[in-house]
Symmetry: C2
Amino acid sequence: MTIAEAAGRAREASYALLKVTEEDRRRVLGRLSCLLESEKEAIFEANRHDMARASEEGLAQPLMKRLSMDDAKLKTLRQGLASLCDMPDPLGRVTLKRELTPGLVLERRTCPIGVIGVIFESRPDALIQIGSLCVKSGNAILLKGGREAAESNRKLFEILRESGRGILPDGWCALMESRDEVNDLLKQDGKVDLIVPRGGNAFIRYIMDHTRIPVMGHADGICHTYIDADADTDMAVEVTVDAKTQALAVCNATETILIHEGAAGRILPVLCEALRKRGVEIRGCERTRAFAECLPADESDWYTEYLDAIVSIRVVSSLEEAVEHINRCGSHHTDAIITENDAAADLFFTMVDSAGVYRNCSTRFADGFRYGFGAEVGISTSKLHARGPVGVEGLCTYKYVMRGSGQTVAGMENGGAKYTHRDLM
Amino acid sequence: MTIAEAAGRAREASYALLKVTEEDRRRVLGRLSCLLESEKEAIFEANRHDMARASEEGLAQPLMKRLSMDDAKLKTLRQGLASLCDMPDPLGRVTLKRELTPGLVLERRTCPIGVIGVIFESRPDALIQIGSLCVKSGNAILLKGGREAAESNRKLFEILRESGRGILPDGWCALMESRDEVNDLLKQDGKVDLIVPRGGNAFIRYIMDHTRIPVMGHADGICHTYIDADADTDMAVEVTVDAKTQALAVCNATETILIHEGAAGRILPVLCEALRKRGVEIRGCERTRAFAECLPADESDWYTEYLDAIVSIRVVSSLEEAVEHINRCGSHHTDAIITENDAAADLFFTMVDSAGVYRNCSTRFADGFRYGFGAEVGISTSKLHARGPVGVEGLCTYKYVMRGSGQTVAGMENGGAKYTHRDLM
């Protein structure tokens, strides 16, 4: 089957999905959870093949870790499925109800987007996460996983499709296997409503430049932790070390530390020592190098997503300078302030133009699972539609439903009746 | 000043706007309303120049009507400003509040998008509508109006800028005057967050194909009125005539009438007679032509936005066939069903994939003013972000604000605490 055919079938399925009840969508999620457990040996077997091949090809260690499927990952997936199942139905929610004039009532009601195309990295658990979010939100889905995870994806896709058999319309999900198919997918405007690409920066920019279909995602994850003049030393060190080192090849890791000059002498020596102990290479601005031994940072460091055990540090003279740096050099993903000062935190929250603005906690919390969304389809740094971790709500849109009794615009404008605009909820 | 410079100033202003209070934004709207009244003679004078030139150049009558500014239009604008002023602040609304773990609280809070670029047709009142929506929602704005309205736009822009003087940051609004500048605007990704083009189909597709900036709007307005087997004859005729003829060159006018075969014999002769009386040219399918004299419609008619006194009519065998026609040939803008049958209306609401789905009223109601939004920046047929008439809500995004007390992801994952995901609102 060609991609155009698969997209056409998904389009048709997306309409049939509009009639599937919430109970039936929950049943599919329940089945999916059961199948993940009963088929786990087959999943692990397929994954071992992928892992062996990736190892032969010399895949880097952090990527090997993403590629692997084990009991712990399956457990996390099943927990996510359980919480997704428990969540209220995201569809058919009425978010506005207004009488326009007596007998003419406007309602805004949530509904699925339609057909979602997802291109994801070599991380097989993403297939189940994304698939389950689409089941919950009534969307049809075209999936393209990373080449390295081919066998794991094939097995997991089989399980996903099996979960929907007899309940969801045929064609509601399809798996694409070759890279060429991505280019075909990008041409399916009219059939595909949204593309969610996950992966490297250059790849995502390529996607954005080669399709008319709306794209949701993030190209960069340049997150900051700003240590304010009024930061607690222990907290600053502990949170910043977590933000940089708890995981490296992730978009929500802190890549640049900003520190107020009033706190630099007190905190920088301890912080740099702690980072070095974790094997982190430090690139500091000139003022940083007065407080701690490190490599010199150059201008390009402020715009670099290392995805590695490297961090850049810059001393700033004020909170405003920190905010200005973040808005100019960052990627509007997630940025944190460490401070005991409420006014400083409020100003940071208001002025930093990012999907996540945090006080006194690690940027690593930016994640759909941790936010309580059950799973995430990705993290959006776009300001339109959905921002930050995207769960089921980001996969829904709405329509305006209006019920009248013969009203015409001519009748209204000729003074027949007046607009009341009375909210009914 | 170049567009890049204006966009850079607007970007800076967008950050300064984050600190402007609601009271001050209301003050600007109040001033704007006063200035429209006190400067009205100067507005009319500028508009007379535009009208005279347009008339010499032979601008079509419906476009002349759009171009003109008169007391009635000013009154409508000032009514819109008053209702916008009365509306609750769209900014800083908390739409989610959740404890992730004791001491770590996540909040989702609405905020402005940032910098909006609007390219609008030769309709000077649009400048004030869009400008006021941006004031209310705290966005900076780059405006480009139609060439025919140049003098009216210049005067209205002056009034808009004057309203904000001393309250809003310099550079929060700018007017572009040449067509070349549109191409420069399209290149300002990073500085401009959203482009809203209004105007013809081909123009909007050009915009969409030539920028990386998200675009919100609609290319086509192919709206349908479907007359069900259980429609009331009088209501069907009255509503359908309004939907087609109350205004012609508008995106929410009905372009195709679908009618159930069970109602065709009863309603088509009366309907066609009423349409003809209004000077409407009718293009019917073969089955239509058995009931009423008219020109033959061909396949391309189903995909055409006439924006004129022309309508196409097709007889269908079922509600399902009507829905299928609408989803395939329409533009997902606004579609209506005329029926006394509740089940038919519900199925229509569920299955028609459009921004507006109406029962027993005219498609012409699809409009921000009529919906009670005070004004509209445009009507979106995109399914992402905002759908249908876009008011202030569509010009807002949100950010996730998190308040912690030193939480780390390592601490959570090492079993220090559990995620509670307890909703606090």
